[in-house]
């Protein structure tokens, strides 16, 4: 009797679980559809940019917009023929500033975490407070300073300024990775008589390396995309890719396909970097506050 009722009860639960699973199905499908509709809606402008970039100019300016056309690379090749120097300048400014950020930022993060200086909080907050001062406010004097130091329109100027722009973020982020180094490892290294430099090189750096890489990728994103400083302080010798988008595209006659090709070339490097750094993106953007 008891066993029978138990079995009945268990059958009842199974069937209830079964109906729940069946009832969940439409929900699951609904979420999938909703998720994909929203994702594609958000991605649509990017998709449209890439589609338009493959159009011949005559197919880009039509009403209604054309979705079927014979794709061509001609707008890409014409954009590529002009964008070359801009790509070089951007690459130099981006890579140069990112290297400098790491050279300055890794030791600083170390001094704010592993062997913290006195009043390390003040240091941290000083760095973040510099992000709050709008650099736009000092743009006039920056121009004059650059003029007098003969740095106007030079890659070095961009490297110097992009480093200052990304350094606070990098210090916060790398510091958050260094705080995760297990204490036991540091103590073991100390017992082995490792000095601080060896401890840094053989214990800390190998562990925080993935974090350093994702920090670097985020610095690359911000430096590559920067326009305000470039537009004010460079003209030709150091003009970067965003500058090409401002001045390098004639908006006379038909230009939408050409513009889309240029925008695609300009955006793709950072989109790829961002997709790679996706997992650590949120941590970097939150300056290490969120794991």
């Amino acid at each position: 009797m008891t066993s029978l009722s138990l079995r009945a009860a268990s059958r009842a639960t199974t069937s209830r679980a079964g109906t729940r699973r069946i009832r969940q199905w439409p929900g699951r499908v609904g979420w999938t559809v909703l998720g994909w509709v929203v994702a594609i809606a958000f991605f649509l402008p990017v998709l449209w940019m890439v589609i338009t970039a493959f159009k011949p100019e005559s197919a880009a300016e039509t009403w209604p917009p054309k979705f079927a056309f014979s794709p061509t690379l001609s707008e890409f090749s014409s954009a590529f023929s002009n964008i070359g120097p801009f790509l070089t300048h951007s690459a130099l400014a981006t890579v140069g500033s990112t290297i400098l950020v790491l050279l300055l930022g890794i030791p600083a993060a170390y001094a704010l975490s592993v062997y913290p200086v006195r009043r390390w909080q003040d240091g941290l907050f000083f760095f973040i407070s510099t992000k709050m001062l709008p650099i736009v406010a000092a743009i006039g004097p920056l121009y004059v300073i650059a003029l007098h130091t003969h740095l106007l329109d030079s890659i070095w100027l961009l490297i110097i300024l992009y480093t200052a722009m990304n350094l606070p973020l990098a210090i916060w982020m790398i510091r958050s990775f260094m705080l995760e180094v297990p204490n036991e490892l540091l103590e073991a290294a100390r017992l082995d008589g490792a000095g601080r430099i060896r401890e840094m090189g053989s214990v800390i750096l190998p562990i925080v390396l993935p974090g350093v890489v994702s920090t670097a990728l985020i610095c690359v994103i911000f430096a590559w995309n920067e326009l305000f400083l470039a537009i004010n302080l460079t003209t030709t010798n150091a003009a970067t890719v965003p500058m090409f988008l401002v001045g390098g595209i004639s908006t006379e006659g038909l230009f939408i396909a050409h513009l889309s090709a240029a925008a695609t070339i300009a955006s793709v490097p950072v989109i790829v970097v961002g997709w790679i750094a996706q997992r650590s993106l949120v941590r970097g953007l939150a300056m290490g506050a969120i794991k």
Binding site: W31, V38, A39, F42, P45, V46, W48, A60, W63, P64, P65, L104, P107, A108, A111, V114, P116, V117, R118, W120, Q121, F126, K131, M132, L133, P134, I135, V136, A137, A138, G140, P141, Y143, V144, I160, L167, P168, W172, L179, N183, E187, R190, R196, I221, L227, F228, N232, L245, I256, S260, A266, S267, V270, G274, L281, V282, L285, A286, A289, I290
Partner: protein
């Protein structure tokens, strides 16, 4: 539960600063910090000192003869300039509406991405992409292929709803720029809120379910309070970046029509690049910085709270 522990004290024995550490030890600790500290002080603070200096000078860099002292005249010009006040106001409007809009969408998208569904990883990748697009490129895509009055995709998609070849950039310039800002920054808010959602202890949610709480009640009573620091963080960081918005303004509307979209960065850009007015730009810059410091002091206080600031014990 150390989720938001950006400023968590390095709490281990070795990391706590020793009392009465030797002078040598103190310098040994300070040394690695100094290059970065000096660098940031020189590169980010020196220009502001020079800005204060030039704000008392009349200096048009296209006029030979250099700068000369003019007292407070640049400041009285700034305070009586309706263009400056207008651009200040538009900066506030643009930043606030973009941050709020992006945060509302960000919460919705995060809730969506928190569900399990087929191809969620791919959907997440697509959703974060707008944030990665170069802002200058994003501005161009929206200005022409998307919002063009004659050929734009937006007008085509809205045509069934009775929208007929609207010239968005001239009839709704501010809205157009704000929409692009929201489009670019929603992914940022989504990622931060999503991190918050995923850090929710599952047993609390389970307990709420066992207690018979509905999904909506659970969200309101448990999830929202849990998300609060994440939302504050997103608003704070988003504001820091969005207040400097320049690319969309320059490339979509060039500050116009008239001054309809001239925000502070664009105003200062015009002063330097077109009016060659270093003194005037400097005075406007100083006023901006003073206002920013007031806001930033409040923001930093919030920041400390958000990061659950812990005093170093030692």
């Amino acid at each position: 539960m150390a989720v938001l522990d950006g400023v968590a004290a390095p709490a281990r024995a070795a990391r706590v600063r020793p009392r009465g550490a030797s002078r040598r030890e103190r310098w040994l600790r300070r040394l690695p910090l100094l290059p970065a500290l000096i660098y940031v002080v020189v590169v980010t603070q020196a220009p502001f000192v020079v800005t204060v200096w030039y704000s008392f000078q009349s200096y048009f860099w296209d006029i030979p003869g250099g700068a000369h002292f003019t007292g407070l005249s640049n400041y009285s010009a700034v305070f009586t300039d309706p263009a400056f006040r207008g651009s200040l106001l538009r900066s506030v409007i643009m930043t606030a509406s973009a941050v709020i809009g992006a945060m509302i969408l960000g919460v919705l998208l995060a809730v969506l991405l928190d569900r399990k569904f087929f191809g969620r990883g791919m959907a997440r990748t697509l959703i974060i992409t707008p944030f990665l697009v170069m802002p200058a490129a994003a501005a161009l895509i929206w200005a022409y292929p998307m919002l063009d009055a004659n050929y734009g995709l937006v007008n085509f998609l809205l045509a069934p709803f009775g929208v007929n070849h609207v010239a968005w950039l001239s009839t709704q310039p501010l809205l157009s720029v704000i929409i692009v800002m929201i489009w670019q920054w929603t992914p940022f808010m989504t990622l931060i809120v999503l991190a918050g959602l995923q850090s929710q202890p599952p047993d609390t949610l389970e307990a709420a379910k066992v207690d018979g709480a509905g999904a909506l009640a659970t969200f309101r009573e448990l999830t929202i309070p849990h998300l609060r620091p994440y939302i504050e963080l997103g608003v704070l960081l988003g504001s820091i970046y969005l207040v400097n918005t320049f690319d969309a303004v320059r490339l979509m509307t060039n500050g116009g029509p008239g001054t309809a979209t001239t925000n502070l960065p664009f105003f200062l850009y015009q002063k330097v690049d077109y009016a060659y007015d270093i003194g005037g730009a400097a005075a406007a810059g100083v006023v901006t910085v003073v206002l920013t410091i007031i806001v930033a002091t409040l923001a930093l206080r919030m920041f400390a709270r958000v990061f659950r600031f812990e005093e170093a014990r030692g």
